[in-house]
Amino acid sequence: MGLNGGTLLGQIITFLVFVWFTKKFVWPPVIQAMDERRQKIADGLAAAERGRRELEQADVQVGEVMKEARKQAASIVDQASKRGSEIVEEAKANARTEGERLVAAAQAEIEREVAHAREALRSEVAGIAVAGAGRILKREINAAAHAELMDELTAQI
């Protein structure tokens, strides 16, 4: 019991040595590691926050691009359908004029044929009429004398 100098001094020296050791070899690395980790975590959180914000921005951008694309697509479809109906109209018009042309040509042909046939028929009818008349009169008709009559007849047929 009681105090004695030897033990007391021994304890004081021991204590100071231990404190020195702790200050030199224990405290700095631990505190440094903890500070570094705190910094790392803070950086990580900041990076995550930044990433989140960038993602939000990207979402907004995607929305805008999509809207633009949809608009473009709609206008392309519009143009295409317009162009399509134009083509159809053009084709229709072409077909109509071609048809009309064909019809006109056919009509001209027909008229020509008709005229041709009429001509042939006329001359044939004239021949038959002359022959018939000749037979009825039992005499020869003087072609020269009746030419005027014949022409008149022919014109009438």
Binding site: L3, T7, L8, Q11, L16, V19, R37
Partner: protein, 257 residues
């Protein structure tokens, strides 16, 4: 384990006998010094190996343990002490953990180590350094020295002397002696109360364990375990109080009143 050859008084006195070397002033309590060193080296190697491989990445188990304690002490110091922490924080850690290990030695059965020592011919062995006033005063006198150093560091020699002479009653010349007396008492009371609080708690606890050990073997477990469980509270509490008061005293010393 009071053997037949010993009376209870002899048993207790025997248990309270230090293993000594030297004479008079230069007496060494070899057991106190030895166990202080053992616990100190346990403390330092634990923290040294924990700190040496400390990484900012994922910490291992030992590093975790070290970090929890370092962080705990660092927070206590930050709350209590507002000067430069470079020395005070490691000091507080050393005080806390060293005292904690000292106190923990009290949980080793009181007869175990003395008995082991006696088998190799050492007849006295008190293993709890904090139940030896020399150990607790060794700490608290170091703290007293630091209080004076920090007073001078914080306020300068002039400030320190001025405070000693003129605080708290003022600078009227007649009051100076009273100021000095009060300040000296205050200064001395700090290490004395620090040392005696720790010593008293652990000495009483050790004494109680010794008394319990004198009961018949079948009656020891109940008071023994009850006291040990209660003592688990006292062990870290006393270590924490010692550390906190050290921080507070140094803070008071460093700052202007």
């Amino acid at each position: 384990m009071a053997s037949a050859s010993q009376s209870p008084t002899e048993y207790v006195t025997h248990h309270l006998q230090h293993l000594t070397a030297g004479e008079g002033f230069w007496t060494f309590h070899v057991d106190t010094l030895f166990w202080s060193w053992v616990t100190g080296i346990i403390f330092l190697s634990l923290f040294y190996f924990g700190a040496r491989r400390a990484t900012a990445g994922e910490p291992g188990k030992l590093q975790n343990f070290v970090e929890i304690l370092v962080d705990f002490v660092d927070k206590s110091v930050s709350e209590g002490f507002h000067g430069p922490k470079g020395f005070v924080a490691p000091l507080a850690l050393t005080v806390f953990f060293w005292v904690l290990l000292w106190n923990m030695l009290d949980l080793i059965p009181v007869d175990l180590l003395p008995w082991l020592a006696s088998t190799v011919g050492i007849h006295y062995q008190r293993i709890v350094p904090s139940a030896d006033m020399n150990a607790t005063f060794g700490l608290s006198l170091s703290v007293l020295a630091l209080i004076i150093i920090y007073s001078i560091k914080g306020k300068g020699v002039k400030g320190f002397v001025k405070e000693l002479l003129f605080h708290p009653f003022g600078s009227f010349p007649l009051l100076v002696p009273f100021n000095i007396i009060l300040n000296v008492v205050e200064l001395v009371a700090k290490p004395v109360s620090l040392a005696l609080r720790l010593f008293g708690n652990l000495y009483a606890a050790e004494m109680l364990f010794i008394l319990i050990a004198m009961l018949p073997w079948w009656a020891q477990w109940l008071p023994g375990s009850a006291w040990a469980i209660f003592h688990i509270l006292v062990i870290p509490l006393q270590a924490f109080i010692f550390m906190t008061l050290t921080i507070v005293y140094l803070s008071l010393a460093y700052e202007e009143h």
